[in-house]
């Protein structure tokens, strides 16, 4: 029981530190702040727990604080980056909770695409050129490393939840959203390269 209390104490400390630190300006990424806080508060919590409550077993403490900290990071990552949750938030704000598909693609998804491009530029992985954007040496190195990891884990196509290799499935989904073929194209659609 002592272990559970110490684990919960470590997590409470982690919550307090992250909620404060995430609001402060700085160059360190939010995920790095989460990780540093999780490890830091784990060790501080254990030291305090041992001092206040005496002898205890380490692994139950690690299990409780580790699980809660991972869940906390998972919740943060979901609301921080998920495009699907962003769309859901826009639907909640819309009158009647309804939005046209074209409006979602053009006003919410395309800006998200641009935001990620800007993020890659800011991180030094891509740079603006006369004709558009190009990879930097750093970006190229990272992209190849990711490709190696994906190959090792048998991931062939990444980026989309649906299998890109199945055009029939795409066509079915397209029909479910656009029952009339002439409605398919929208101002937000980028024409295919010949």
């Amino acid at each position: 029981m002592t272990e559970l209390l110490i684990g919960l104490g470590c997590f409470a400390l982690h919550v307090a530190v992250t909620l404060t630190w995430l609001r402060l300006p700085g160059r360190r990424s939010p995920v790095a702040r989460h990780a540093i806080s999780a490890f830091g508060t784990h060790f501080v919590g254990m030291a305090l727990g041992g001092w206040l409550m005496g002898a205890f077993s380490y692994w139950p403490v690690a299990a409780v604080s580790g699980f809660l900290a991972t869940g906390w990071l998972f919740a943060f990552s979901a609301v921080y980056k998920s495009v699907s949750l962003r769309i859901l938030a826009q639907l909640q704000r819309a009158p009647g909770h309804v939005l046209e598909f074209e409006s979602i693609a053009k006003e919410y998804v395309h800006p998200e695409f641009m935001a990620r491009i800007m993020l890659l530029v800011k991180m030094g992985f891509a740079e603006e050129t006369h004709g558009g954007y190009a990879l930097t040496v750093k970006g190229s190195r990272i992209a190849r490393r990711i490709a190696l990891i994906q190959r090792a884990w048998g991931i062939e196509v990444s980026g989309l939840y649906s299998r890109m290799a199945s055009p029939q499935r795409e066509e079915q989904r397209e029909r479910s959203i656009h029952p009339h073929p002439h409605d398919r194209r929208s101002p937000g659609i980028i024409p295919p390269v010949p």
Partner: protein
Amino acid sequence: MPIDFVPSRAIGWALAGCALLPCLVLALSHGPLRIAAPGKRFVSAAILSWLSWATVMAMLAPAWLELLSGALLLATATLAGFTLWTLIAWGFTLSLLQALDRGVRSLTVEEWALVYTRGRPFDVFARDRLGVLFMLGLAEPRGRNIVMTANRGWFLARLAGWFRRLFGLSQ
């Protein structure tokens, strides 16, 4: 401050279950056991790890604290593994970077989007992300419109909004 760092037998088996998870994902990624869909592959590996652990626990019958700690350790590994898996399998920003790497020269935004979606209209990406909402019952298509579902969609949107405020993120 005496802290016992030596894991008990039950905890040791839970740690073995944690180590088994990536090994199983790897085993299901290649060869005759390969499961093509990345989502199903991870879920299958997670189920097998949990079943292996549960089988050993049924034989050991440990004390409740040991059992709870073991379950939490395995849950941590599953959640952390899933987070990393989503990044390498479906990560938006990483995939964008790789799309730029596939381009032979510098790309305009439009060309970049096309390389990302492998030559399909950009709407494919929007539909893909909406597909998650449909699959989870958070929204549904009605003709040309997308409608948030009254119960599940509303609840999750509120919860996500609450978490965004809690984390100090803009709405």
